[in-house]
Structure formats: C-alpha cells, structure tokens
C-alpha cells in the first residue's frame, strides 16, 4: 500500500509540475525516495517537526501547489492537528495529509505507533475529506483522484503488505462506496485491509452455514460517506456489522449508527472496533485482531449472534 502510494506520487508528478511532497523524515518509510530523486525541488524535507510541516504545506498550497504532507498517522495528523485545523482546513487549502502506519496493523511498533484515532480526528474537521484504501490497487486510484480535487483530504495507509481484494475494473469516486461481494443476510461495512477478515469469515461460513451470505461493502470514502449504498443493502439484509481497525469512538461505526438513528430503517447493528484501549506490540497482527475483538473469529461470532 505504501509502495503503491510512493509509485503513484512519482508517476503523477511527471505530468503535474505543481505536485509537491512535504516530508517529515519518513521519506523511505513512505516510499518517496524516487520522487525525491526525480523532483528534488518539489520534495520539501521539514525534519522531525510536524506542526511546521503542516503550515508550510498550507503556505505552498496557497501559492498554487498541490501538496502531499507525508508521515506516520501517529505524528501527522496527531501531533499537528491544530495546525491542520486552522492552516489547512479553515483556510481550505489543497493539502493531502497522508498518514501511514495506521491501526493495530502497525504490529511490532506498539501502542504509540498504532494510530487508532486518526479517522475521528480528521472526519470532525470541516472541509476535510477522509479516505482509507482497501489495498494497494485502490491506494493508486485514490491518490490519483485526490491529487486533482483541490481540497484538503486525509489518506490513511497501513504498514504491512496486504492482499489485493479490490476489483481492478472499478474506478474510485469520492463519496461512493462499492459492494465487494453481494449477499443477502448480513451487511458488513468497513475500510482498509481489515475487510479481508470478512472474506475469510465468508469462506468459513460457506462450510458451516452454506445458506448464509454476507454483503461486503468497502467504505473507502469515509467522508463524504455513501450512506445510500449502505441503506440499500441494509433494507435487504436487516443486519449490519461495522468492522474497523480504529477506536469505536469517532469511527465509521458511530457515524453510520448516527445516520441510522435519524433514518426510518433500523437494522440490527454491531460495531467491532478497538474499545477505549491503546494497542500493544505483536509480530502477528492477527493475534492483535483477536485480542481486541476485530479478527475473523470475533466477526464469525458476531455474525452468528446477529443472525
């Protein structure tokens, strides 16, 4: 996913002389070395200083550039949130905050680096759009689309290599979800590579309960959110599970729950997310997923409960 981002930025910059990268000493972690080599005057290295970097990015954007502000999510947008709020969002400038190493997926690095609050921090800001790609393929598509939006955006990336589950034929549109797999009994929504857990759960169900099918929806456009696709699916299934590698508070599940409370459709709803806890180190991220109740087994148990 990170590699796909780095490659896409490098390719986009060839045709877009206004595309800049503002880095905070994590060039290699975000696979930006090629960009930095090919476009040295457009690669702005701010060092370990996230607050300055965010406002420098805003100033560059004010001069007409499209700026990708790249770091780990636990630093940017975490350390520099107030700068993003004022200098980027309130001033409504063309800066894309790229937060890598989001979620428990950050694994070995432990609690400080497993950013579980980024979606909450970013989605609450006026003018900010929030995106979390499913896999490397969708990372390329989203990066290309937001590079042309001229608005503030947040792009959430993860650390490990993850399976490709998106359809190469599908295009990405801001504000649109896509149905990854059609089903009739339970709607599963989420974003990012954790949705692979839903496919794993479906495989197990196929042996255990062959009549049960899951409808899996990729909400990679978290804000603006395509509520109508979720609503249409839930009208059919009457059951909704939201799974996310993020805190429950301020996550996608809460946004969707709030929308359903003001809708006439009231599905059975269960939200699987990290519940008011910090993460911890592990070499195997699936151990973490199981421990925090967002892995395949938790999902299977939840499906059985909701049916």
């Amino acid at each position: 996913m990170r590699q796909a981002f780095g490659q896409t930025i490098d390719q986009l910059a060839k045709n877009n002389p206004n595309l800049y990268v503002v880095s905070m000493d994590l060039k290699s972690s975000l696979f930006l070395s090629d960009f930095a080599t090919h476009f040295p005057s457009r690669f702005i290295e701010c060092g370990i200083a996230e607050a300055n970097a965010a406002a420098v990015a805003a100033g560059l954007a004010k001069s007409g550039k499209t700026v990708f502000l790249c770091s780990f999510a636990c630093f940017s947008p975490a350390i520099n949130w107030a700068v993003i709020r004022q200098s980027i969002c309130y001033n409504n400038l063309d800066v894309k905050i790229v937060g890598s190493h989001a979620g428990l997926m950050t694994g070995e690095l432990g609690a400080t680096h497993q950013m579980l609050e980024d979606i909450a921090l970013m989605s609450t800001l006026p003018n900010m759009e929030v995106f979390a790609p499913l896999d490397a393929l969708e990372t390329k598509k989203i990066t290309a689309v937001i590079s042309k939006s001229h608005r503030p955006a947040y792009l959430r990336l993860v650390r490990p290599s993850t399976p490709i589950i998106s359809n190469p034929k599908n295009s990405f549109t801001i504000g649109k979800s896509n149905i990854l797999k059609k089903g009739k009994d339970v709607t599963i929504i989420g974003y990012g590579p954790i949705l692979y857990q839903a496919f794993e759960a479906q495989s197990v169900l196929q042996n255990q309960k062959p009549n049960i099918s899951l409808e899996i929806i990729n909400c990679s456009s978290i804000k603006p959110l395509d509520f109508s696709t979720i609503l249409k699916s839930v009208k059919k299934t009457k059951r909704l599970i939201c799974i996310e590698d993020h805190q429950k508070n301020g996550g996608l599940g809460q946004m969707v729950a709030s929308l359903f409370l003001s809708s006439t459709i009231k599905p059975k709803f269960i939200h699987l997310a990290v519940d008011n806890q910090f993460g911890r180190s592990a070499k195997d991220i699936y151990k973490l997923y199981n421990y925090y109740g967002i892995g395949k087994n938790s999902l299977l148990a939840t499906i059985k409960k909701i049916l």
């Binding site: 607050a51 300055n52 420098v56 004010k62 200098s87 001033n91």
Partner: protein
C-alpha cells in the same frame, strides 16, 4: 528624525481613533496589541516597498485583526463603514482575522502557525516577498522555532518576519511568563538577518523594511513597541491586552487623549 515629522504620523493618529471607535462599537477587541502593531502595519501598507497584490502579508497573530482592519480600510480594500460591523453576527470582520476579508490571505488566531505558513508561501512564490507579523509572546510556541530553522535551511531571502515586541501577553509580562531573553541573538544564531527598530518610528521601520526586501537570508525585524500606544492608561498595561464591554467612560477618556 523625530517620528512626528513623518507623513505617516497623521495616518497613525487617525487610525488609532478608528480603531478605538471600532472596538467601542463592538464592545470588545484586542486593543493593546492592535495599538502596538498599528505603526508596523501602516509602514507596510502605506509605503511603496511592497505591492500586496503580488507580495504577501501573513498576520500570524490573528488577534491583531482590529489593527489590520483599520489599515486595510484606509487603503480602500473595503469601505470604512464596514469597521462598524466588527464582530457582528453577519460581518466578515471577525474577532480574529479571516481570509474572507478583502486583502487578507490567511485566516489565523491560533498562535505560532503563521510563520510556517509564510515560509511555505515564500518557498512556493520565490519571485515575491512574504511578510509575516508575529508577536514576542508568540515566540513561546515551539512551532515558531521549527519554522525559523526551516526558513534558514531553504534560504528564504524573500521572507520577512516582523516581531511586535511589546513585552506583554495576556496574563502579564513575557519576562515573567516565559522569558525569551535575547530574541535578536537567537535569530542570529539560527542564521537569520536581524534588525532591531523602534516599532513606532516610521523612519526606522521603513529603512528596515527596505533593507529586508530581496535579501539572501530570511529577515527578522524586531520592532520594540508599546502595548496600548497612544492611550496613556493603556500603555504597558497587560490588562489592556484585550477589552470586554469597553464602557463609555473609558472610551471617552481614551478618545480625549487621542484628539
């Protein structure tokens, strides 16, 4: 030369009255810092050193909005009548500066961000000068020093930071709350060109601004100012950092001194 002989001293006098009226009309505003920064802003906008249709001005200390509003109105960016609407519900003149106001490029209010923004703008538009106005108290924000390092690294000779040094902040003196000690020496150490001026002396201010334009290094102008300048009972009194419910008695007393 004595400041009173400078043609801008008349403008300064008139804008102090405008500023007082505006704040009295609203009932509240950051009067102390606005009066300390006013002559800096007049030097920027009423001289022909910069053309702010092309050059950039970034007010990092967004609470000094009142001073900038009066200066922008005096330069016909908008009608002077608009000043009466300051802080009204449907007015573009908010308590802190907003880019909705004609002539304003950056909305601010949270201290410490504007110099970074100005540095980004100076880097992105190397053919023009970006001038930023910060305050001494604002230099307690760590982000300022991040941007000071950044400007040196990227050799932003087209960046000017004017520091309104009135020595006071909302709760008292800068010296008591968090001393900056020798600010000029700090900037020199960080690789900037530094000039210290009397921030109410137009001859000194204009000379420093002319020197700062088109330099090889980022420029810092330390402007020594007086909080509440022009109204004796407000001068150097941190309690006039801002006023809430400015009553008629204080208004008339202040006006009497300015007339």
């Amino acid at each position: 030369m004595l400041n009173r002989f400078h043609p801008f001293s008349k403008i300064s006098h008139q804008l102090r009255l405008d500023l007082l009226d505006m704040i009295y009309h609203s009932g509240s505003g950051h009067i102390g810092g606005s009066l300390s920064s006013l002559d800096i802003l007049i030097s920027l906008y009423h001289s022909d050193i910069f053309d702010f249709k092309k050059d950039h001005f970034v007010l990092s200390a967004g609470h000094l909005a009142c001073a900038l509003y009066t200066v922008l109105a005096s330069k016909k960016y908008f009608s002077k009548d608009l000043l009466k609407t300051y802080t009204d519900f449907d007015s573009i003149l908010q308590g802190h500066i907003s880019k909705d106001v004609p002539g304003v490029e950056y909305s601010s209010g949270s201290l410490g961000q504007g110099l970074s923004f100005a540095a980004g703008l100076a880097l992105g538009d190397p053919r023009h000068t970006t001038v930023c106005l910060t305050t001494d108290g604002e230099h307690q924000e760590g982000q300022i020093w991040e941007s000071v390092m950044f400007a040196k690294k990227y050799k932003l000779g087209n960046l000017v930071n004017i520091v309104d040094c009135n020595g006071l902040q909302i709760d008292g003196t800068v010296q008591d709350i968090m001393p900056l000690n020798n600010l000029a020496a700090k900037y020199v150490q960080f690789g900037w060109t530094v000039t210290t001026v009397d921030g109410h002396n137009f001859f000194q201010l204009i000379k420093a601004l002319k020197q700062a334009k088109n330099s090889d290094y980022p420029n810092c102008i330390i402007a020594k100012t007086v909080l509440g300048k022009g109204i004796s009972f407000m001068e150097n009194n941190y309690k006039y950092h801002d006023v809430k419910n400015l009553d008629e008695k204080i208004y008339l007393a202040a006006k009497k001194e300015l007339l």
